[in-house]
Amino acid sequence: MLEQRTKYAIDWITVCLYLVLVVCGWVSVYGASYNYDQTDLFNFDYRWCKQMVWIAGALVLGAATMLIDWRFFERFSYLFYALVLLVLIVTPFVAPEIKGSRSWITIGPVSIQPAELAKIATAMAIAKFMNQYGYKVNSLKDLIVPFIMLAVPMFIIMVPQQETGSALVFAALVLMFYREGMTPVILLLGVAAVAFFVITIAFGDSPLPLGGGTWGITASMLLVLLVIFVFMLNNERAPKHAFIIAGISAGLFAVALVVNIWLPVRIDYVSIGAVVTAAIYLILYSLSHNHRNPLWVALFAVGVIFYSFSANMLMDHLQPHQRNRIKVTLGVTEDPVGQGYNVNQAKIAIGSGGLTGKGLGGGTQTKLKYVPEQDTDFIFCTVGEEHGFLGALFVLSLYLILLLRLVFMAERQRDNYSRIYGYCVASYLFFHLAINVGMVIGIVPVIGIPLPFFSYGGSSLWSFTLMLFIFIRLDSARMDRL
């Protein structure tokens, strides 16, 4: 195969989006770290000055990435992955403890978080593995290897390094797996797991108006009954069974409420009883009609029962601060000076921005340091406070366009490796964006991960730059492929 270096098809749209985001990020860091008593224009004690250096470095890094031969990436994927794993394992032993986690390696003046590199290496390694001829994503054998590739760095980052946020990022790859053909049931189950967890915990402390028990489990069970009802209703062979099940459940609740007049009844247990009854009905129906799908639904129903209980148990076994973060996010507890302080102040910062914001450097919340981590994890506050809704709209639109562009680019690749890697990049970026902004606006528990290209700091900026430009490089060579 002759080497053809002639066809450099750089996707300038993506490069421009990247540059605009980086510039916006620098403006936000400037807004967040600018001080009232600041006198000199340039002083490398100021973070916005340091960030300029990081940005310059990132641009050099990006440009350098473009010079690397595109074949290099796939060829050395496993080696790179192995090297990064090694560094990850070593890190907790050599890294100093910073805010309870050991994840930063300090080399001279530069601190690097190997977890950032692990994201890239894992994406490359998985992409390479899945690019093998005859790979089938839905075969268990073929799925287990990428899963292990993903689980190993995730485990190292979560357990010895105590960096839960960075570890969770790997879960984002479920989107890539979905695109590559993994059954959507896993995605749906993931969504259902989140939904039932939220319902169980959010309403776990609110008592029912009648009888004993709380809304948490009852609401989950009612949702399961609704799912069963809708499923059976859509069952072409026997929609009438939907009404039979609904009737049985309603009867159970009615009896319980009548009995409740004389004897106190735990309505949440009754709701579980109703689901169990419905599940048995479905199993019997399935066996008698030789129809398999109702069996799955019954299994799902029983699974939710166990899941709801384990969600409660999980909550009991979490670290107190983690439990509190979750409860604050779900609105179960209000804690504006304790665990909820960050989020509350972040919401105040963003909410006080109004339509057009307070102007660059005019944000009192961020300026007076009410919002902690205002130039790193909570950088989006500065955008919201100083540039208002319009600023936030602009920034989120840029991200959305970038994400859609990445999907578009991934789909135009001629080889699986580039496409899978492109989806990995999009998934990571999306996860960071969704978690970071969601945390700042108070709909996701506080998980400390940076906002790509925005948050202050070289490690995150450089690794995202590297991650993105590897894909741009791969994309630029798409014409060279077969």
Binding site: D37, I348, F430
Partner: protein, 616 residues
């Protein structure tokens, strides 16, 4: 891979991205545009509104002598949240001169939301108030690094040139929750006039508070002015007030009342301006300033001689013989007597009211005033009330009684001066027919005989010293008065009140009152060269010796001063009240006291041994 079976899924992924970002934008729209509370919270977070207190208006006497001014004072405030956790308390205590127990008590008071409704650990709470420069000097020096959380707030307190006129000037104190609820100008820790002129003229004196908007960082530290002070408001100083009081006269009045219980009121008849308003016992107004205020106030409240009561305005007495001057005017007006009408007097043997003086008989109006003849005024009263007989069901009598009451009240007696700036006046009383009907159970069961004591000012007639002074001013003016008042700027000349007695009758009464000083009960206290008019009163009461009263004015031709004096339980009107009134007139008319021995004698005499002096 064009023929990839899962190609369609890229659309799902894109939709996930679009939906999540859109959802976040909706949330942002809600947070930033719909919900308003975050903007307010951001402001209350970052902006500290610090009150800049306005200097209170000053008070001058009628001649421009400064009476009340401001002295700097300091409040120590503490922000609990910023306090050092590691101690420094002992040092704070030592600097402020308090002990550990006091410190603890004050802290628990501050943190008790029931007692300190505005408590927040993030905002400055008042720890100690009204400290002097010396008190805070040491704290001030090291406050920034040694005592985190503590700060000093500049205030002003009152100070006084003279230790006099406490009741007139009044005092200021910290506003109560009721004040705050009533007037939203006030906030916790503000001062407001509590009594006297400070209370009456609160709106003028207080000025307008300013505000300084400061930026506070998350550690509670002030880091600068918001927008460089663009939204700050400078305080407006309160307006100054010039009083009608002549401070020399006021000082004299108070010194003459020393050791006595009573009051002196001096009015400029033509203008209604109060020249002096003294009540005894009294106190040095500086005693109710600053930190010692509540402690001293407590002492004054519990003094059985009731110094806090402004007797000149609030005490009510039977006017006794001083009332005969008003009686004479009214009897002439209502036809009870004519100027040349005479009545017989049998001296101490007179019936139903005996005479306390020895004089010839029959007695004319002028003689009757001069000699304070009781039978004359009883008969004049009887003639007035019974002029038209009693009529059916006493109707004629009652009609005449109401006319009499109406005329007397037109001298400013038996009601408050509603258009005056005097605070807490008592009403006094001229009984109505309704009241007598109730007392005597029927409209026809009482007559001039039953209420005969009124004729000589001993019955149910009740006046305040202010009212009887005003009556003297009315007679001096020949039939009108301007409501007595204390603010010189507030000219009330166009609000003149005419007595319901014809002008032509007043010269007779003035002449009679002149004769009191020439030949009668006041003759010992005449100032040579000045034609003085007066009337003594000796009022029997249930509390011991008679009250000594005197009213008068001078000079007779163009009166410049009208005076009323009451000395409780001290003896004859001529013994105490008359010389005091005479000295007041001398001081005001000649600007000096020639009779120094008289002044000396009066001011050093003690008629009530319970009277304490509160002088610093």
């Amino acid at each position: 891979m064009i023929n990839d079976a899962n190609y369609y899924r890229h659309g799902v992924v894109m939709w996930i991205f679009i939906l999540v970002v859109s959802g976040y934008l909706c949330r942002l729209f809600y947070l930033q545009i719909i919900e308003d509370k975050y903007r307010r919270q951001a402001e209350s977070n970052a902006l500290v509104h610090r009150t800049k207190y306005a200097p209170r208006g000053l008070m001058y006497d009628r001649n421009g002598v400064l009476l009340v001014y401001n002295q700097p004072a300091y409040d120590v405030v503490v922000t609990i949240n910023e306090m050092s956790k590691t101690g420094g308390t002992a040092s704070v205590c030592r600097t402020l001169g308090i002990d550990w127990a006091q410190y603890e008590e004050r802290m628990s008071e501050i943190k008790d939301v029931n007692r300190n409704r505005g408590y927040s650990k993030y905002t400055p709470q008042i720890f100690m108030t009204q400290l002097s420069m010396e008190d805070i000097a040491e704290l001030q020096e090291n406050i920034h690094y040694k005592y985190p959380g503590f700060a000093i707030q500049h205030r002003t307190l009152r100070d006084y040139t003279y230790p006099n006129a406490a009741q007139v000037l009044g005092s200021i104190g910290e506003v109560s929750q009721t004040d705050i609820d009533r007037d939203n100008y006030y906030a916790r820790g503000d001062y407001a006039g509590r009594d006297g002129l400070e209370y009456t003229y609160e709106q003028d004196l207080r000025g307008e508070k300013g505000v300084e908007i400061l930026l506070r960082n998350s550690r509670g530290r002030i880091v600068g002015n918001y927008e460089n002070g663009a939204y700050d408001v400078e305080p407006k100083a309160g307006s100054n007030i010039t009083l009608t009081i002549d401070v020399k006269l006021q000082i004299l009045a108070e010194s003459l009342l020393k050791g006595k219980i009573g009051s002196v009121v001096a009015i400029e008849p033509k203008t209604g301006e109060i020249l002096a308003l003294a009540s005894s016992p009294t106190w040095n107004p500086s005693l109710l300033v600053g930190r010692k205020r509540s402690q001293n106030y407590d002492i004054l409240v519990h003094d059985p001689t009731k110094p806090l009561m402004n007797r000149a305005l609030q005490a009510q007495y039977s006017p006794g013989s001083t009332f005969k001057t008003v009686q004479a005017c009214v009897a002439l007006q209502l036809g009870g007597i004519t100027p040349d009408r005479t009545f017989p007097c049998s001296g101490p043997g007179s019936q139903p009211i005996k005479c306390t003086h020895h004089h010839g008989s029959p007695v004319s109006l002028l003689n009757a005033i001069e000699q304070s003849c009781n039978p004359y005024f009883w008969l004049a009263y009887k003639n007035t009330l019974e002029k038209n007989g009693y009529g059916k069901d006493n109707a004629n009598f009652r009609e005449q009684y109401n006319r009499w009451r109406d005329c007397v009240m037109s001298f400013g007696i038996g009601h408050k001066f509603e258009d005056s700036d005097l605070y807490q006046q008592s009403r006094g009383s001229i009984p109505s027919t309704d009241l007598y009907d109730k007392w005597y159970r029927g409209t026809a069961s009482w007559n001039s005989m039953t209420i005969r004591s009124n004729s000589i000012g001993q019955g149910e007639v009740q006046i305040t010293p202010l009212q009887i002074a005003n009556a003297a001013a009315t007679i001096a003016n020949g039939g009108y008065f301007i409501s007595p008042h204390l603010n010189k700027a507030d000219s009330m000349l166009n609000r003149r009140h005419d007595a319901k007695v014809d002008k032509r009758y007043f010269p007779y009464v003035q002449e009679g009152m002149w004769r009191v000083f020439e030949y009668g009960t006041g003759r010992h206290y005449k100032i040579p060269g000045i034609s003085m008019c007066g009337k003594t009163g000796t009022v029997d009461n249930n509390h011991g010796r008679p009250h000594s009263l005197f009213i008068g004015f001078a000079p007779k031709e163009s009166p410049k001063i009208a005076v009323a004096v009451v000395v409780e339980n001290s003896g004859f009107g001529a013994t105490w009240a008359a010389p005091i009134a005479s000295l007041m007139m001398e001081q005001y008319l000649t600007d000096t006291i020639a009779r120094t021995d008289l002044k000396q004698r009066i001011s050093t005499s003690v008629t009530n041994t319970n009277v304490k002096t509160y002088n610093q």
